[in-house]
């Protein structure tokens, strides 16, 4: 029953002084109101005649707004008067166009559309959790409501990472084109891979003249080179405990995802093949890049639901997975944290096997708080101890970096906002040096 039933009963209490037997009046009035409630309940539209379906956006970039529309179809012969609550997880930021409490009227056989605008606050999968329909009677004294009737139509909105480092892409692509030799503002392309033979023109490097071919053609021919294409690139995202650390406003994993996306976009344009692996104690996501056009979209979709887990990353697993899947020599970019405990015990033992087959780059975001502790002038005893602890952490980091460098690993250690361009630069440099 609704508040109207209570109000009706309370209002009818005003007639009691006129009754000859007031307590009999109480019984009669209560019975009458309950009878009305029962009647109203019977006349309410049945719930099994209602079906709910959804349509709308499946994915939205973080910060954007998606619209998902809930369609309520009333198949019963009665008019449906309903209050509808379509509950999403709070971080989905759902704002229904029709307020939750408003009574909706759907005629027999009719359909109502209830659009919901979603502005998610976090990356990942944001599901619709529960749909509740309260079917009111014509007098609105009583309602029918049952959990699971109608069944909640499942819908998951995938919130994609924001990909802020997109703004670096044009600049990096321009540099890639210079390396490629497509853009001739600065000169020919560099590279180590043989491209074609062409006639010598004045200004060509005499060292690139192919004498054998010149002898055959009675013309001076030069070899042209181009950067390697169809190289392989593996982005490995560490989703273990170190990736849960919040740097500034977002976890380290989000920074890593951002950098990995920029790298993927760049490599895909350069004609390289990109694979992605996300793992902690188990493999969380895996993308094998074959179809180039949709690679970035697929990758974004795959990394969107990744969440950091409070477990120690199993580098043994990661190394095994990479070695098993990548037979050719590839560039393995490992997005993790430069932390002595995690890397020293996990990565260093398996690094020789990995570095023997592949070129390894370790991309780590460092903590701005740590830098702040070491650079700020101390004001109290706590600061002095904190500075000592921070210096010690930095020294440990340097030791790990030195150990990694001994194995031929390139370490990219950058603040959160500069990690993505720094990794892209490293990639471009390696590519221009032909070290892929």
């Amino acid at each position: 029953m609704t508040w109207r039933a209570g109000l009706l009963l309370a209002a009818s209490a005003a007639t009691l002084p006129a009754w000859p037997a007031p307590f009999l009046g109480v019984a009669v009035l209560t019975a009458a109101v309950l009878l009305l409630v029962a009647l109203d309940w019977t006349l309410a539209a049945p719930l099994h005649g209602i079906t709910a379906t959804r349509a709308g956006d499946r994915a939205v970039r973080l910060g954007g707004t998606a619209t998902v529309t809930l369609h309520l179809a009333n198949a019963s012969a009665r008019t449906l008067r309903a209050q509808v609550r379509d509950a999403w997880v709070p971080s989905a930021g759902a704002r229904p166009d029709v307020p939750t409490g408003r009574v909706l009227t759907v005629g027999p056989g009719g359909t109502a559309a209830l659009p919901v605008r979603l502005t998610p606050a976090r990356r990942g999968d944001r599901p619709a959790v529960a749909l509740t329909v309260r079917s009111l009677g014509p007098l609105r004294l009583a309602f029918r409501q049952r959990a699971g009737h109608p069944a909640t139509p499942p819908w998951t909105l995938r919130v994609l990472p924001r990909f802020d480092s997109r703004r670096h892409l044009p600049e990096k692509l321009a540099r890639l084109r210079i390396i490629d030799g497509v853009q001739v503002t600065r000169g020919r392309g560099h590279g180590t891979e043989f491209d074609t033979l062409r006639e010598y023109v004045v200004g060509d490097d005499v060292r690139s003249i192919d004498w054998r071919a010149s002898a055959r053609r009675s013309d001076v021919l030069v070899r042209t080179w181009r950067p390697e294409r169809d190289r392989r690139l593996v982005c490995v995202l560490d989703t273990g405990r170190t990736s849960a650390v919040r740097l500034g406003d977002e976890p380290r994993l989000d920074t890593a995802i951002d950098a990995a996306l920029l790298l993927t976009a760049l490599a895909a344009r350069a004609g390289d093949r990109v694979d992605l692996l996300a793992a902690d104690t188990a493999v969380r996501a895996r993308v094998t890049g074959s179809g180039r056009p949709a690679l970035l979209a697929r990758l974004v979709d795959a990394v969107a639901p990744l969440q950091p887990a409070l477990v120690e990353t199993d580098f043994e697993l990661i190394a095994g997975e990479v070695l098993r899947r990548e037979r050719q020599r590839s560039l393995v970019v490992l997005f993790t944290a430069l932390e002595a405990g995690a890397l020293g015990e996990g990565l260093l033992p398996v690094l020789p096997r990995l570095a023997a087959r592949h070129r390894v780059v370790l991309a780590a975001t460092h903590d701005p708080v740590l830098a702040g502790l070491t650079t700020a002038p101390p004001t109290g005893p706590d600061d002095a101890y904190a500075a000592a602890a921070a210096w010690r952490a930095l020294a440990e980091r340097d030791r790990v970096r030195a150990a990694l460098s001994r194995h031929g690993v390139t370490v990219v250690d950058a603040p959160a906002d500069r990690l993505a361009p720094a990794v892209a630069d490293t990639y471009l440099r390696l590519k221009s040096l032909g070290q892929l």
């Binding site: 307590f23 650390v245 990744l306 600061d383």
Partner: protein, 430 residues
């Protein structure tokens, strides 16, 4: 090919049945525990209305055969009577002890006759209820009632006990039902035993334990029971088999003999009141308002109940948010700093700070890492324009004694490195 493995998902929302279980099982367990306790207690407690309860011929746990035996050994003649009238008649002219183990079974109309005993007689009542006390017009009130009987010394709450039998018996299991009476009454065992001179001498005891076969040997129970019931008087043991029927004849009280003092009564009205036990109590508040007022109140209460029912049904369950794990940045570093501070590790902290400063100064001054300390100090002092001895003390001195010195050291090292070597630009890809 794309394969995405879902991250750890929170468990699916529990089925409605599980929710019912969750709502029902803990209260159910509590109710079961309470019911079990109550049933066990009820089984354990003797019931005065049972046949054979404190009967001189019953040998069960509830019986009083061992007490009767003990009394006979002391030479106390026992007369077992199963009827109040017979008992009163049997009392005869001389002083007797009338033992009533189950005063509840005595009919209200015959209760008053119990106190009309020959002079020097004693009436012993076991756990009389308020009704019995009122019926006897005794100035006693039942107060606290314990869950189980406790053994207490006679002077548990002050030296007011003047009953020689109780003092002789010492600690006894008496404290079950306590009574409050006027001050002249002898009060023993924290109020569980009262002696009042009310015509005859009336002894009210708050527990049946001292008389029962199963507990008579504990503490001073036997001594107390035989003391209360013995004392050179013949004992009339009122062993009622069940609730007594109403008296038929008008002449109830036995003809009191010459020395039988009649019972002092408080007032005549009280005797009349006793005639109808449940008094028809009427609240004057009813008449203060017209009946429709109460009806309106009742109807408003029902309306409120309807509103409560309306609010009790929510529009769908609350939705939980699967929260991501978060780790504060530099958590371990700050934790280590706090550990340093708590342990007072000033030497370690100072050594770390000095090593860090040297690490930054040496490359700046183009010195190899194995430069002797005094040369380092001299070069640093020359560059910074400071006193070499001070710099040497700063870079290679003793560990600081307290936190203030450590802070001083940290400040000076910071100032020195700031002038000579600007802070390293962090994060250059190497």
């Amino acid at each position: 090919m794309t394969a995405t493995l879902d991250p750890v998902r929170p468990a699916a929302p529990p089925a409605p049945r599980r929710r019912w279980h969750r709502m029902l099982v803990p209260p159910g367990l509590a109710v079961l525990l309470i019911v079990t306790t109550l049933v066990l207690h009820a089984v354990d407690q003797p019931d005065p209305t049972d046949r054979g309860f404190l009967s001189p011929v019953a040998t069960g746990d509830d019986g009083g055969s061992r007490l009767a035996e003990a009394l006979r050994e002391q030479g106390v003649p026992i007369r077992r009577e199963t009827d109040v009238r017979e008992a009163l008649r049997a009392a005869g002219p001389g002083p007797v002890t009338l033992f009533v183990p189950a005063p509840e079974l005595v009919h209200p109309h015959t209760l008053a006759a119990l106190t009309v005993l020959p002079g020097g007689s004693r009436l012993v009542l076991v756990e009389p209820s308020r009704r019995v006390l009122t019926g006897l017009a005794l100035p006693l009130e039942p107060t606290d009632r314990r869950w189980a009987t406790r053994a207490v010394p006679p002077d548990a709450d002050g030296p007011s006990c003047r009953l020689p039998e109780a003092l002789r018996a010492g600690t006894a299991a008496v404290d079950h039902q306590r009574y409050a009476g006027p001050s002249p009454a002898d009060r023993c065992y924290a109020g569980a035993l009262h002696r009042i001179s009310w015509g005859a001498e009336v002894v009210v005891i708050g527990a049946s334990d001292p008389f029962r076969n199963d507990r008579i040997d504990e503490w001073g129970n036997r001594s107390l029971a035989t003391g209360l019931l013995g004392a050179n008087r013949p004992l009339v043991w009122l062993d009622l088999p069940g609730p007594e029927p109403a008296p038929t004849g008008p002449s109830l009280s036995p003809t009191p003999d010459g020395d039988g003092t009649p019972l002092p009564r408080r007032s005549g009205e009280r005797a009349d009141d006793r005639a109808d036990p449940p008094p028809n109590w009427h609240n004057p508040l009813w008449d203060a308002f017209p009946p429709w007022f109460w009806a309106v109140l009742a109807q408003l209460a029902v309306a409120g109940l309807l509103l409560v029912l309306w609010r009790a049904r929510r529009l769908g369950p609350p939705v939980p948010e699967p929260l991501p794990v978060t780790v504060q940045s530099a958590e371990t570093v700050l934790g280590r700093a706090r550990l340093y501070r708590r342990a007072g590790a000033r030497d370690t902290a100072a050594a770390t700070l000095r090593a860090a400063a040297l690490d930054r100064l040496l490359p700046r001054l183009n010195l190899p890492a194995d430069t002797p300390p005094d040369e380092v100090a001299a070069r640093v002092a020359a560059h910074a324009g400071a006193d070499p001895e001070r710099v040497a003390e700063l870079l290679h001195g003793a560990a600081p004694e307290d936190d203030r010195e450590l802070l001083e050291l940290a400040r000076e090292l910071d100032a020195l490195t700031r002038t000579l070597a600007p802070h390293p630009t962090e994060g250059d890809p190497r």
